[in-house]
Amino acid sequence: MWLVLKYKKVGLAALLSQNDMQLVFTRTFRRAGLPVVYSDGFAGRVKMAFSPAPPYAVEVLNDAVFVELNDDLIKEREILERLNRFSIPGVVFTDVATYSKKPKVGDVIKCVVYKFYFVAEGRADINSNVLALNLDYSKRIFLKRGYWKMRPKRCELRVMKDGVLVYLWKSFSMPSYREVRDFLESFLKFEKVVRIATLVELEDGSLI
């Protein structure tokens, strides 16, 4: 049985890197007494899969980790309760879904959404240029990469009341987050960035 566990990583726990999170999950599962499955081989590890790694020091509100269990008798509520009892401060498990087979990461995760909270002064400028921003962003990425075969990554920016919402469509890697951040930082000041979700099946404009 495979579990898809949704979790959030907030406060000081945001300083845990993805590498640290692997250790944190392994120890949390073992402390919670979950019957996890180990990989074959000399140094067996807990069978786990992750959503795309969030950038360092960014809070995560709705991320996912996939883990295989030996036993399908444990109830979902009990799993959540146990995990939250034994988890590290700042890492909170919010939901669990069970699958008989290992789900493909790409089937579950459609896009990654970041929210950049900007300081008040920049709000007026950005609000009037949403479309221009999107166009400009695509153009810049395209120019930066410098050759035709590489298509610009799909990305959409929206301005909310308190910040800029960024959707990265199926391009989850760190550089694309960095590219967006660097681009926005060139004309806006931010207080903080939060990764809002990774699991949403996004319909245009529905996620606010």
Binding site: L12, L16, D20, R27, R30
Partner: protein, 585 residues
């Protein structure tokens, strides 16, 4: 909750070394006594130190005591933080009431000097305000070294007495807050330490109190360590050195290698029964979530119930958990390998040969037969082990060119059999330590070590050869037997320069030159120390192993006589076993 803001933390090299994002951390709101366990090294190394794993839950269980841990930040992190803070409360260590420091090696002396400087504490005890600095650990047995910066030195095993001290301190502080005569908590601790039973085991700095008033030498404190085996641990959320559950299966080693301080410091031999080990392992795994268990010991091969323990571990350990013995001799490993243990971690093959020739092995009392070793190694290579690591020492007493020649020919023989890539040779320089039979031996010096290493490099070309820096060995040799005057001067030097970072990092050459220049005016003292003509430590500390026994062992070394394991027959090394029996009663 950490008081650092998020941006500051983000800019650190690794913020997890400074905040309590860990399991098993205790943060109390109300406390009477604040104790900080200070490790004079960085977090990944300090987290693997077993002593603080024992003390942390023990002190935490005392009402009114807030216990925290502190480590030396990296140089870049210090530039941002500007102080040393503990992890639990993000409180500057200057604001603690008691700093418990361990000297695992003499080089921790440099770490403490740097830590005091960074924390804004005075070096001189008489000028210092703030926490009482209590030093312990095997390298603190030279009082000249440990009393320079410490208010007091605890000799031996502190599990019972330190907990008692804290309980009494809490009681006094509670009375003190209701209007007592004490100026500060430092004074409370000092007053307690001057009383029984502490005064028998704690060396108090004479700047606080005259030596005439304290009965010297102070005696090593002993406990039945099996009563203090921890099952609750602080578990880090990032990778550290030795990242595993550690269970001390036995304490002390009775082989009696004549160069080894641990062998004489940790006596008498005690062991935890296999059933108890299993109980501790099970609780520990449930509490920590660790995937590996390290069965700590100075010499796991001497654990009397090793086969029984392995059978139990194979049966009882949960799935996905491995266990390892960090110090298994090849002959024992050979015996165990035939039991085909499945959950045992297949570590590297390590053989501490120490000396290349049979003659020199007799001198150091290292009973190892190289002829028996060869077929055992062949068995392991056939069974899938990839390489063998050999440990040798250079500069041992009575060492000659011929001994080094024998070392080279033995390694070459191994290389011919198993291949160049499969043999790794580690060389360290012998450092004479107090309270060992070699305490009065000469340190051969940096030049000798460098020349010998050059010869080894030349004649063992193509073999993976690793060595410890002779400069650091020389520094260790100087500090291990240093006298009071030079120790003060060195403490000033390290304090003013914050030398820890230079010796840990790339500045080691520059710092060594500076130290060499500084020592020019002390060259006569340095020579005396290197020649081993001073042994003042016996006047201050009694570890329970008599100086007469050490001298007898030294004479046996010169005549090339082996000394048997003292569990076979009592060798009359001193009163240590008698002290322990009286405690057990």
């Amino acid at each position: 909750m950490a008081k650092f803001d998020f941006d500051t933390l983000k800019s650190l090299e690794n913020p997890l070394y400074h905040i309590p994002i860990e399991w098993g951390v205790s943060c109390k709101e109300n406390c009477n006594v604040r104790v900080t366990l200070l490790y004079c090294g960085d977090y990944p190394v300090g987290m693997s130190y077993h002593g603080f794993k024992i003390f942390y839950p023990l002190f935490d269980s005392i009402d009114g005591v807030c216990v925290s841990r502190a480590y030396l930040p990296s140089f870049n992190d210090y530039k941002i933080l500007k102080n040393i803070y503990d992890l639990e409360y993000s409180r500057a260590i200057k604001d603690s009431d008691l700093l418990v420091v361990t000297y695992q090696t003499e080089l921790n002396f440099i770490g403490l000097a740097t830590a005091l400087k960074l924390a804004g504490l005075e070096l001189q005890v008489e000028k210092r305000e703030g926490p009482l600095v209590l030093v312990g650990g095997p390298a603190s047995v030279n009082p000249a070294l440990s009393l320079v910066m410490a208010d007091a030195v605890f000799v031996g095993e502190g599990e019972k007495l330190l907990a008692m001290l804290l309980e009494e301190a809490v009681e006094k502080v509670q009375r003190f807050t209701k209007g007592s005569v004490y100026k500060d908590k430092r004074e409370i601790f000092l007053e307690l330490l001057e009383k029984e039973p502490y005064c028998h085991h704690v060396l108090i700095n004479p700047k606080h109190k005259s030596f005439a008033a304290q009965n010297l030498p102070v005696r090593k404190a002993l406990v039945d360590y099996t009563e203090y085996v921890p099952t609750q641990f602080v578990v880090p959320s990032c990778q550290v050195v030795q990242d595993r559950l550690t269970v001390e299966i036995n304490r002390a080693c009775t082989r009696g290698c004549r160069f080894c301080l641990a062998s004489f410091y940790y006596r008498p031999y005690r062991a935890l029964e296999p059933e108890r080990v299993i109980e501790v392992v099970k609780k520990g795994i449930a509490n920590t979530g660790y995937e590996e268990v390290g069965l700590l010991s100075l010499s796991a091969s001497d654990y009397p119930w090793i086969e029984e323990l392995i059978n139990l571990l194979e049966k009882e350990l949960p799935e996905g958990t491995k266990y390892s013995f960090p110090s298994l001799r090849v002959d024992t490993l050979y015996r165990i390998a035939k039991m085909k243990p499945e959950k045992m971690k297949k570590g590297g093959l390590t053989v501490a040969v120490e000396a290349g020739s049979e003659r020199l092995r007799r001198v150091v009392n290292k009973m190892i037969n190289l002829d028996d070793l060869m077929p055992q190694l062949e068995y392991f290579f056939k069974a899938g082990w990839k390489h063998v690591k050999l440990y040798f020492m250079i500069g041992l007493p009575t060492e000659t060119e011929d001994d080094i020649g024998e070392l080279i020919s033995y390694v070459n023989e191994l290389v011919q059999r198993f291949g160049k890539k499969n043999v790794i040779v580690n060389i360290s320089t012998f450092v004479p330590k107090p309270f060992t039979p070699f305490e009065k031996e000469k340190f051969y010096g940096i030049e000798y070590a460098i020349d010998t290493l050059r010869r080894l490099k030349r004649e063992l070309r193509g073999i993976s050869l690793r060595w410890s820096d002779p400069t650091l060995s020389a520094l260790e040799a100087l500090l291990s037997r240093v006298d009071f005057d030079l120790a003060s001067a060195l403490a000033e030097f390290f304090y003013s320069r914050g030398s820890y970072y230079a010796f840990e990092g790339k500045g080691i050459r520059r710092e060594s030159f500076a130290l060499e220049e500084f020592l020019v005016s002390y060259s006569a003292d340095v020579e005396k120390i290197f020649n081993g003509s001073k042994s003042h430590w016996h006047d201050f500390i009694n570890l329970g192993v008599s100086p007469a026994f050490l001298e007898k062992e030294r004479q046996k070394a010169y005549s090339g006589e082996y000394t048997i394991d003292c569990r076979e027959r009592c060798l009359g090394c001193g009163p240590i076993c008698g002290w322990y029996s009286s405690i057990k009663k």
